[in-house]
Amino acid sequence: MFQRGLQRRAAPALAAAFAFATLPGTGRAAGADSTVTISQGVDPVTMDPLKRTITPTQNVSLNMFDTLLRHDRDGKLIPWLATSWKHVAPTVWEFKLRRGVTFWNGDPLTSADVKFSVEKIKDPAEGSEQGPRVNTIARVETPDAYTVRYVTFRPTPIIPGYPWVLSIVDAKYWTAHGNEFEAEHPMGSGAYVFKSWRKDEELDLSANPKWWHGKPSIDNAVFKPIPEAASRVAALRTGETDLITNVPPQYQAQIQGGRDTKLESARSVRVLFVAFNTIKPGPQQNRLVRQAFNYAVDVPALIRTVLGGHGYETSTPVPPNFTGYSAKIPFYRHDLAKAKKLLAQAGYPNGRGLELVLNAPVGRYNRDKELAEAIAGQLGETGAKVTTKVQEWTSYVNQTSQRALTPLYMLGWGDNSYDADNTLTSLFQSDARLSTYSNPAYDKLVESARYEVDPGKRQALYDKALAILHDDAPWIFLFQYDDLYGTSKRLRWHARPDETLAVDEMSLGN
């Protein structure tokens, strides 16, 4: 008897509880205003543009702060705050600044601001991660308000100081307010003016009406981070955001087929490779084994099957549009018979006796774990036993730093200098932190190239160095990634190879 009574009374409460969980909303907000919402995986960590190097933070600061130069989408340098730049003496690079540029508060931007910005990064007490970018600069000279000279320690053919990412800050404002204030209340000269920032929620910027390049097309830019890839894709599909970064290939079809969404891609500067740790004992010290493995891996098949076609096979660690790239270096084309022959020559007929571990990070690069498994499978076809060992990035990167990963390890490398130097020294020079390769002849070549001012001679040195890498095969050469972005159809924008998101290059249609 009491059962029915209870049922009668409990039903409305239950119904209400469920109704609350499924109440229909009013649909998405109208998007008639000119606002673009951008969702990267993480929020910027600070508004101080001189501290960090991580891409999502830099992508935000480059909208608020101008740089001396900028790369166009093909990687060609174009004038920005600097109208011209010249190598005036072996150790001196000179920049002429644009006149009439002001910070948002009206302060004029002069050579003193450039000097202040560089010196801030160089100061060890500041603990800036950008330090390595300016370590070739000995001092900054300012002969007049619109001329800046970078004096380098040694003659260098490479424009020092990464002027395409080094933000120029307002020296007067910064000196008056200090680091902590600047980290929350930035003062730039860039296309978009800082409005407000709720950490991990939303960063609001508005177009700078007095920007030297003309007021940008879109009135407001909102950076709204969404850490989870699946949620980012969902937010794009519901129209909550207009642009998402780092789209895993498995969502490609969803975005391409979406009514209001489209896929954008750019050939990234990031290359992925499998390195042999040649400084630790093991069969990987045998060059024949390394070459055999290069022939055993079918890179186009990896790109096709694991990356949904989004990648570009590479024959060298240096991507094609970089200074120092050599088109003369051949590819190791997939040739299983040749791989087996080389292994037999090395003393491992049919791969017998070869047992190796392929280390790889998980969640760091697009499809890293899946790629490692596919590569291990392909290597296994030679008869060698290759197993994968997958680790979370933090402990993985520690071990790369100690050169402890052996005998095989997967790593990605992205460098936005558009010059071979950083890549070829950081990854292969005998004493470099990340190098597990040692060859004195190679070391000499890249060291000479670093200071060779004559472009022809410099290229000749890199041709030789890259030929050595090809023959010695300290890597299994894989591919350059294709960076994938999802955008709403109303957004007009083309992805850039250096992963930057310049809102002034975007516009909105209907």
Binding site: M1, F2, Q3, R4, G5, L6, Q7, R9, A13, L14, A17, F18, F20, A21, T22, L23, P24, G25, R28, S39, V45, T46, D48, K51, T53, P124, G127, E129, G131, P132, N135, A183, K199, D200, E201, E202, K224, P225, I226, P227, E228, A230, S231, A234, A235, R237, T238, E240, W393, T394, S395, V397, N398, S401, W413, D415, S426, A432, R433, L434
Partner: protein
Amino acid sequence: MTAFFVRRIAGAFGVVAGVAVVVFVILHLTGDPATVMMPLEATRAEIAAFRHAQGFDRPLWVQFASFAWNALHGDFGLSLRHGEPALGLALERVPASAELAFTALALAVLVAVPAGTLAAVRRNSVVDVAARLLALLGQSTPVYWLGILLILIFGVQLGWFPVSGTGGWRHLVLPAVTLGMFTMARIMRLTRGSMLDVLQSDYLRTAVAKGVGPFRLIVHHALRNAWLPIVTAVGIELGTLLSQAIITETIFSWPGIGRLAYQAILDRDYPVVEAVVLLGALSFVLINLLVDLAYAALDPRIRYE
């Protein structure tokens, strides 16, 4: 009563201190923040300079002593990632997390207690089977999968709710349901079990014989006595909600302490992880204390002498 409290607070302090030691040691054993924070192309010298500037090159016990001393003064140091005081970063995210956790808990209790009661009262009926099935699903569905599923159905397909971020009650619905599901299932099973026990007791039969009405019988007589294990569970579940918030907040980009913790762990941002974990331990201990107090209020037989 006073002695009980002194004992409990001393115990609580011991728990928090123990957690502090464990989190410190584990963090320092599992990775060097210098190599994570510095760019890949940084040289060994640059990394060593960073390590020195942060004091990571001191002996571990010296680092711990300085950490413990400063932590006692509410100073966890500057976040390696943000360059701001770690405790401040953690505290400013507490309101968002609390909003989500309490909504999830309220939702869970509002569904679980009536449903569990109904299932017990109408044992082996369709309602009971449905409730048990829901409980089974709720407890066996991974939070991650459920979150994405809800996003796809209610966000993308139906367009009823926004799928990320904050801004009004509509933003709360999907994350709160996701977060509360496991807890709802647990409390529902517990309510059902507890009610079944109580429903079979003699005093209830006496109450029926006396002519007590059904609603009064269930709510005043049965539920009142079934309450005790449920309250305990609700208290403990609040702790579970805090830990599950890491996943939910990440999926729904909810700006809470769980998401801060997730990123801080990936970055080996020691000061932030330490601040978050200790805040979590403190709140857990506090919740348990409150649950003990609630016992006394709910069950006159319990007295803390």
